[in-house]
């Protein structure tokens, strides 16, 4: 083995590296916690943990500078450090069995979290009593949908994620006889009715309900209990010219309709949907508070689960700490609409790696108990052998 390789190996198996990485991780977690006040939990996760480097923009410019190792980098190095140290120093002995188990559990936990970061999907399903839905909706991402509703038996849907709808972008799709041009995109805006008074800013919208509405852009919000409501102005361009410009927002209660080329179309910007091969109906939502207080005691939703293949047709009850696990998805009682007592909001999560933390928890607990148990037994035996020494 030559010197460079040895130095390389010594670096990666050293405990010094472990300590440095751990201290750096602590700094990362601390900074990320503080930054949640400004950025909210989602943006913080993207900036600090799901990244190789924490980037900082030089004030006044858009030039990002890496200023600190990010979660992926630190986690990756820790993993390499851990695995290589164990390979290098591996000796199967009873005295080290606990440590081995703890670290194996830790590896599993890190891998599991990485998988979760990549694979987990989180949606919500809001239901009024009596309402049935076969899809859940994102509470962070929106999509532009254009539906061809000519055939009464089915709708032909073209959906475009919000991320592609930057100002000036053009979209073309084989199913659509027109191009879609985003004339203006506001990531967050509030809507109000136009008063018609002079001096009002002119609107880009020429069709649908848009000409009656003013959209005022707002700064992005990162608060946990608020969401961003984007507004877009899209122009549809056919071969013979413009069909009009529509104002779209998830805040509008219904899609806008128009006819073109002998087809009926619907147009909307709405929360991104994930369709399911089954449907849920809310039968009853209950929300109890403790007597004489506003402190919530329990929320629960009684639902009816139906699958079109006829294999599922039953009632289920979802309440705090008791989710419904079905078809690889988990439905949690997340919230409710405070203005309406007959409405529930379920969190719908797909996390294929959910079992790994449970396994790793068992392994680490066992490992620590074994390891410290060995220490304590040794300590007590030693004290037995030598009678207590006066301090």
């Amino acid at each position: 083995m030559n010197d460079t390789v040895r130095q390389f190996r010594d670096f990666f198996v050293s405990l010094k590296l472990t300590v440095v990485l751990l201290v750096l991780s602590m700094g990362l977690v601390f900074a990320a916690t503080l930054d949640q006040v400004n950025l909210g939990v989602w943006a913080v996760q993207a900036k600090y943990f799901h990244s190789l480097f924490v980037l900082w923009k030089i004030p006044g410019t858009d030039v990002p500078l890496p200023v600190y190792p990010g979660g992926y980098l630190l986690g990756g190095f820790l993993l390499v450090n851990l695995v290589s140290a164990h390979i290098y120093r591996f000796k199967l002995s009873g005295r080290k069995s606990g440590i081995l188990l703890v670290h194996a559990g830790l590896i599993l936990l890190l891998v599991g979290e990485f998988l979760t970061g990549l694979l987990q999907e989180e949606y919500q399903m809001a239901l009024n009593e009596g309402q049935t839905k076969n899809y859940s909706e994102s509470y962070r991402f929106n999509e532009l949908v254009i539906l061809d509703t000519t055939d009464p038996k089915f709708d032909d849907v073209v959906a475009v994620p919000e991320a592609l709808l930057t100002t000036g972008s053009t979209l073309q799709h084989p199913k659509l006889p027109f191009r879609v041009v985003t004339k203006q995109y506001y990531p967050n805006a509030t809507l109000s009715m136009r008063s018609g008074a002079t001096g009002e800013n002119p609107t880009l919208a020429t069709a649908g309900i848009g000409p009656q509405i003013t959209a005022t852009p707002l700064p992005l919000t990162y608060k946990q209990d608020e969401r961003n409501w984007p507004v877009i102005f899209v122009e549809l361009l056919g071969p013979e010219g413009t069909l009009g410009t529509w104002l779209l927002s998830p805040q509008l209660p219904a899609p806008q309709t128009f006819d073109y080329g002998g087809h009926s179309w619907r147009l909307a910007l709405r929360a991104e949907r994930a369709y399911k091969p089954f449907s849920l109906t809310l039968l009853k939502f209950t929300h109890d508070v403790y007597l004489g207080t506003d402190i919530p005691k329990n929320y629960s939703s009684r639902l009816h689960l139906t699958a079109p293949d006829g294999k599922e047709d039953r009632e289920v009850l979802v309440y705090m700490n008791n989710p419904l696990r079905y078809a690889g998805l988990t439905f949690y009682q997340a919230s409710f609409d405070p203005s309406n007592d007959h409405n529930t909001i379920l969190q719908v999560v797909r996390n294929p790696g959910w079992l790994l933390p449970y396994l790793s928890c068992v392994m680490m607990t066992l490992g620590l108990v074994v390891q410290f148990g060995i220490h304590i037994l040794g300590f007590i035996n030693k004290r037995r052998a030598v009678p207590a020494t006066p301090a």
Partner: protein
Amino acid sequence: MKKAVVIILLLLGLAIVAKSLLPARNPAAFDVVGFSRLPVLVNGRVKPLDTVARSSLLVICGATYNDSSQSSLIFTPDKRQLNPDEWLLDVLFRPAQADTYQVIAVDNPDLLTLLNLRREEGLADRRFSFAQVEKSLAEIDRQARLAEPVEPQVRSAFQKAVVQLQSNIILYERLKESLISSDNQNFLAELFAFQNSLAASVEAVRAKQAGQPFDMAAARKLIENGQRFDQMARIGYLLAVPPVKGEADPNGWRNAGTALLETFQTGQVNPHVLAYAGLGHSWAGGNATDFNNILRLYRDQLVKGFPSALAKCTAEARFNAMKPFNTAMTLYVLAFFVAVVSWLKWPAELGRVAFWLILAAWLIATAGIVTRMWLEGRPPVTNLYSSALFVGFIAVGFCLGLEYFYRNAIGSVAAGVIGFSTLLIAYYLSLGGDTLEMMRAVLDSNFWLATHVVTVVAGYGATFLAGFLALIYIVRGVFTKSLDQPTADALARMVYGIVCFATLFSLIGTVLGGIWADQSWGRFWGWDPKENGALIIVIWNAVILHARWGGLVKQRGLMCLAVVGNIVTAWSWFGVNLLGVGLHSYGFVESTFLWLILFVLSQVAFIALANLPLARWRSFRQP
């Protein structure tokens, strides 16, 4: 001499314990103690009136109310001293007198100006009577309405003060309308008259509605009573009337006004309301014999239908009076000094005395924790207050173990400091009112409270203990000559062992928290501030262990790292709550911030001390 000192110290400890065991005594002929043990439902929980009195006073009088300190007691205008239960009796039954007692805290100078009051007009410069603030009620309401739309975190000091004052006044006024109608001189006679004339009055109202001739006075009286009861039903604070169906129906408690409105259906005035009106009449009339008789008869009735509520309330009122945590605090202080002295003189004897004192204090505090668990039907940690108690329980428990093995009084000194400080922290956290709160739906899971929360808080306790042992090492080493090599080595082994436990608890606790989150929110880990706080403790303990195993630190380095553990734990325990974001931020306390900063600075100072060159230490100097 030695023996005498030992005996005196043990007797002193015994006296401290005995004092708290003395049963509560009635200040005069009235059976106030018996009254204070009656059950009512407030804030979702059946509790004795004694707890209502104490927690209401805590809120209304503000942070300085402390019924064991002379300067903050309650006095009538003729300087007669009242205990909390007598105060509550006056508020409930002699509201006009109670309005003259100076109990309402107003600190903010701008608020005082608004109320046209000067500090000197208040008791202890800060407490005013309802009569003094009454004239400004409309203005207080208006200012509170202006302040309320502002988010609590960003309110100015004046806005906070005015919102607090308004809510305190509302609480006070709701208390007054709880059992009798506060604008009525003789409510008992009124109720009897109401009962006797009920049939005739209902007849009169029916006749009026049917357009027939009717008794105008009777009809008007009925409507008047209806309005008065309705007012009591809307604002009455105490749900004092127990369920008709007995203990099987925990949601059947209601206030006196609601029970009185039921009279229009039942035709009978509720006997519980009558009993309270009778108590009120005899209290206001100064008739102790009647008061005690009614109380005795009423309790005899209650015990038939509500034996367990009555038993729990009696126990809780006793618990309130005993103040086990105050007793434990005194014992911890005494033990601390005895243990410190034992390093200088008579190590064996004084060391043993300190050990026994710590053990007694710990057992009393533990009994207090167990009583709270029984009263609440919950695992030990349910809120920030109980977490402070439990941190003390764990840390002192470990100290007792260390002391048992090492017998060098180090465990006792650490136990004295940690036991005292955690109980002091708990005391300050208790100033917000009743500490036995109902659990929000998301936290309402005894299984996870018992596993995740208890292990995480045990991890806090162990990490703090390691840090305090390190402080002892540093202080003894730098300032005294008493840190010889064997003691130093023993301390290093103790710190190392405790850090091992801390790692065990905090790691398991954190992962269990993840599993709970997976169960209730659908994700194992969400980078929520409280989760991050727990994670930081785990990482730091891992840093200490790896640094030691890798030989990166020796004894002094280990101590410095352990002191940093104090900072990390304090941040995780209190700091993250100050951020006011995240699902866990249920324990927002404001002045905590200042204390946190001071604590962190003090720990940094200790680390700096530890890094003085060894030549500057008084111990370890080569002769």
